[in-house]
């Protein structure tokens, strides 16, 4: 398998002195779905941002596999709040990432159609964001990311602010899209069940300074996941790991 993201001894610091995390080494394989959970303040969102080159690395390196196809981007990000541009129609929000890369109008239309169908909002192209519910806005946020046909999707607690029913529906939709498209996904969440339900692997970020302290391979068929004994045991195991990490962090202060 090919590695699409590789970080080596990565550190990020906002003040140039104290690192948010340090010595962070991880690799994400092509087509893999990796969940990232961790102690709050350990820099989960920050990690996504440094991978997306939105903030600079303080130490170490990030290597991201770039596609040779000029109509695609290596990485696309889905944010916690959908953060659609309110002055753009749904269609124009989806094409945001296509402006500035080499995409013909015809291909643009195709991508809009394809992504809207994928997220199940085929008839919504002409709506304004304010006319959509929170769940629909988040679907458009996902469509916007998929429209650049990225190899890698970075997702920052994308379902965190949704109600339980919508969240479950979107989780299943995301799995469906993932299987359909073969994207690699790095998914940050504070919801351990969600992390275990979605991921091939769950990475646990913690420690002082933070780094990846544990990794859980899930290895249960996804169809078996929501309710099965094995699933619940796995959730408990990850929860225990996170609790230990929190205790260590607390006792260190």
């Amino acid at each position: 398998m090919a590695t699409v993201i590789q970080t080596d001894n990565l550190a990020v610091s906002f003040d140039g002195v104290t690192p948010v995390f340090e010595g962070l080494t991880l690799a994400i394989e092509k087509g893999e779905f990796v969940s990232l959970v961790g102690v709050s303040g350990a820099g989960k969102s920050t990690l996504l941002r440094v991978i997306a080159d939105l903030i600079p690395a303080f130490k170490g390196s990030v290597r991201v596999d770039t596609p040779s196809d000029p109509t695609r981007r290596a990485i696309a990000m889905v944010f916690q709040a959908a953060n659609l541009m309110p002055w753009r129609s749904v269609e124009d929000n989806i094409t945001l990432g296509l402006e500035g890369i080499d995409v013909s109008d015809r291909l643009k239309k195709e991508r809009v159609r394809w992504t809207l169908d994928l997220v199940g909002l085929g008839n919504y192209a002409d709506r304004w964001p304010y006319q959509l519910s929170g769940g629909q806005q988040q679907r458009i946020g996902i469509a916007r990311a998929l429209a650049v046909d990225p190899d890698i999707l970075l997702m920052d607690e994308p379902f965190g602010s949704l109600d339980a029913i919508t969240r479950n529906a979107l989780q299943d939709e995301l799995l469906h899209i993932w299987k359909e498209t073969g994207k690699s996904i790095l998914f940050v969440t504070h919801d351990i069940e969600e992390a275990v339900y979605l991921g091939d692997r769950v990475l646990l970020l913690g420690g002082e300074p933070a780094h990846i302290i544990n990794e859980y391979s899930i290895g249960i068929e996804r169809t078996e996941r929501r309710e099965s004994e094995a699933f619940l045991r796995k959730v408990e195991k990850v929860r225990g790991g996170l609790q230990d990490a929190i205790n260590v962090t607390l006792s260190a202060h």
Binding site: R73, A76, N83, G100
Partner: protein
């Protein structure tokens, strides 16, 4: 309240006011020039139009107003946006703005006349000053209030230069605030236009001072209403444009 009923009540309020005014003016409690009855207005308007004065004065004021409005708005928005974007620009003008902002536009009249004479330029200059400050502050505030998360989204999707961010996020995001500043300036401009002309620059204000000297108070009232009318029309047109541009707002 239904829109129809609302219109009806609004119209009744205005009609009631005019009737009351007419009644008091006709009662003979005041001399006619102290309170000219509104019924004299149509005749006065016709006579001013026939003399060609109304058109000339309105056209002249409209010219001062438009020039001042455009210059004040463009400079105000441009500087306001730059100040919000670049800390160095902000710092270099911070005290200057503090010194000059409290000076009312009308305080510039002496210098306007010394520099430009009794001229259209002088009137436009005075008008532009008031409009400038309104737009400067509105644009600065609007740009500073643009959602930082949306800027991050634009960067994440490949729009990383200042120019790209301006085009994709900052200007559209600041548009509601900037447009409401321009609209406030639209009203402020009509307030200063008359004051600027009271000093003899041809236009509505000059005609009003001339008429009051002759105790032709019905002419003064006519031009007061003419200003209200011009403001109403320009504001109406602007609001139509504004709601088209900001169609995306709830």
């Amino acid at each position: 309240m239904k829109p129809g009923k609302r219109y009806l009540l609004s119209a009744a309020g205005l009609a009631g006011f005019l009737l009351l005014w007419e009644g008091i003016a006709q009662s003979g409690w005041f001399e006619a020039h102290l309170l000219p009855p509104p019924s004299t207005l149509p005749v006065t308007l016709l006579s001013e139009i026939r003399l060609g004065i109304w058109q000339e004065m309105v056209w002249a004021s409209l010219r001062h107003y438009s020039i001042g409005f455009v210059i004040g708005s463009v400079l105000g928005v441009t500087l306001g946006v730059s100040v919000a974007l670049f800390p160095k620009v902000e710092a270099s003008q911070a005290w200057l703005a503090r010194v000059f902002r409290p000076i009312p536009p009308l305080a510039w009249i002496p210098f306007a006349i010394i520099w430009f004479g009794i001229s259209e330029t002088a009137a436009a200059f005075i008008i532009s000053i008031g409009i400038f400050w309104i737009n400067y502050f509105a644009a600065m505030t609007a740009v500073l209030a643009v959602d930082k998360d949306l800027i991050e989204v634009a960067r994440a999707f490949g729009h990383r230069t200042m120019f790209a961010l301006l085009r994709k996020v900052i200007m559209p995001g600041a548009a509601p605030g900037i447009l409401s500043g321009i609209r406030t300036g639209l009203g402020q401009g009509w307030m200063t236009v008359v004051a600027a002309e009271l000093f003899g620059i041809p236009g509505i204000g000059q005609r009003m001072i001339e008429a009051s000297g002759l105790l032709a108070s019905e002419v003064v009232v006519l031009y007061m209403f003419s200003i209200a009318f011009l403001y109403g029309v320009s504001d109406y047109i602007f609001v139509r444009i504004q709601s088209k541009v900001l169609e995306w707002q709830r």
